[in-house]
Subunit: 230 residues, 2 copies
């Protein structure tokens, strides 16, 4: 709806890819609805995935032994995070909905996107004990993981060789988003688009566009072990 | 035992850290046993986590649309992977045991180590359908995930707020190692070393040294959904 803000965190090297199409469809459809859409195109930005001393501007809190978590927390509080992180945090802060668009790499997100999680969702900004899980600092936001797989739906079925696809969503949806207080919409999964006919790929893209039309009416999942492991 | 080769893939920024100590203990203890130990110190190497076109030397297989998986597979076959990846693959190829030593970041490994997985374990080298899982190309090797957590053992208990710690091991142990045919030894987990007394930290280090003494007698876990989700 007009006024809603969406951040799409997007990790694919090739604009002409299927992931690129999924991203463009979201930009277009949400734009049509009057949403304000921002894209963090991680590869195009050359986003830094490594958690290092360079993320802190100026002196360290404790130069005797570098503790990334502590240093980032302290740097956040005194406004000394590197510029790229301040910009990403601003986008997150303003967003009502975060969409993560990526190809599944090794049962998880690509390293460049994991680096976004590691570096952007800093203690003090996204969580601060005891403000985690339902009282995480980013509550009142929504997140949606939209991804493509190499393996087929059969491989990712319960009893399939790769196990229920929900098993691998636990770290991303519960461990990261829920921990920060963000409510999780059902994932959007396109199984092995590389290995299906062109017609099926078109149907997958149409289904995503269709889902986006009523996305704001969706209820978040119940992000507890039952949803993942039954 | 003499002659066994071990690769430690290590991801911590600070040599004086608890993770640094765990790594040094492994180097020392396995060295004493006569093993040949190699360490990939990812932060010190400035290891690149991003999966990009730079990983392929020379022309692309299909320059019309960049497909990382396909390009890496083709580049592997024609010996056109970037030098850093060739070196890591050589270390993996020679190793009998891979130890991954890291602090848990967001229910997973730090992005720099995820990048190692994404970029090194290329199709053709580590797997090549249908050679995956029990017939993965790296069979006859062992892997062990050794990591520290921020959260306590109670938080990571079944029924705890963060769920059974085994839930988050599924993508790493089954989705990556097992997929490549590598057998998985029980993980070595040090819960919240930052928040326990110095005495407890010493006990944790001693326990790791002790475990390493009989590591080669251990049987791998049964890496199936039952182990993770009961």
């Amino acid at each position: 709806p007009p006024g809603r803000k969406v951040l799409i965190v997007y990790a694919h090297q090739e604009p002409k890819s299927f992931n690129g199409s999924l991203k463009s469809i979201a930009v277009e459809e949400l734009g049509k609805q009057g949403c304000s859409v921002t894209v963090s195109d991680l590869y195009a930005m050359g986003f830094e995935p490594r958690a290092t001393r360079s993320d802190i501007v100026g002196c360290l809190h404790n130069p005797e032994g570098f503790n990334y978590g502590v240093e980032m927390w302290e740097a956040y509080k005194r406004g000394a995070l590197s510029k790229d992180l301040v910009e990403e945090q601003k986008k997150v802060q303003e967003a009502d909905l975060l969409i993560f668009q990526f190809p599944l790499y090794w049962f998880s997100m690509p390293a460049i996107m994991k680096g976004w999680m590691d570096r952007v969702l800093v203690q003090g900004f996204a969580h601060e004990f005891p403000n985690c899980y339902d009282s995480g600092l980013l509550k009142d936001k929504l997140a949606l993981f939209s991804f493509t797989t190499g393996g087929s739906e059969e491989m990712y079925a319960k009893g399939g060789i790769s196990g229920d696809i929900r098993y691998l969503l636990w770290p991303m949806q519960h461990g990261i988003m829920h921990f920060c207080g963000i409510k999780v919409l059902a994932p959007h999964i396109c199984f092995s688009p590389e290995y299906v006919p062109e017609e099926s790929r078109k149907e997958m893209l149409a289904a995503w566009a269709q889902r986006l039309k009523t996305l704001w009416k969706e209820e978040p999942i119940n992000c507890s072990p039952e949803w993942y492991f039954k």
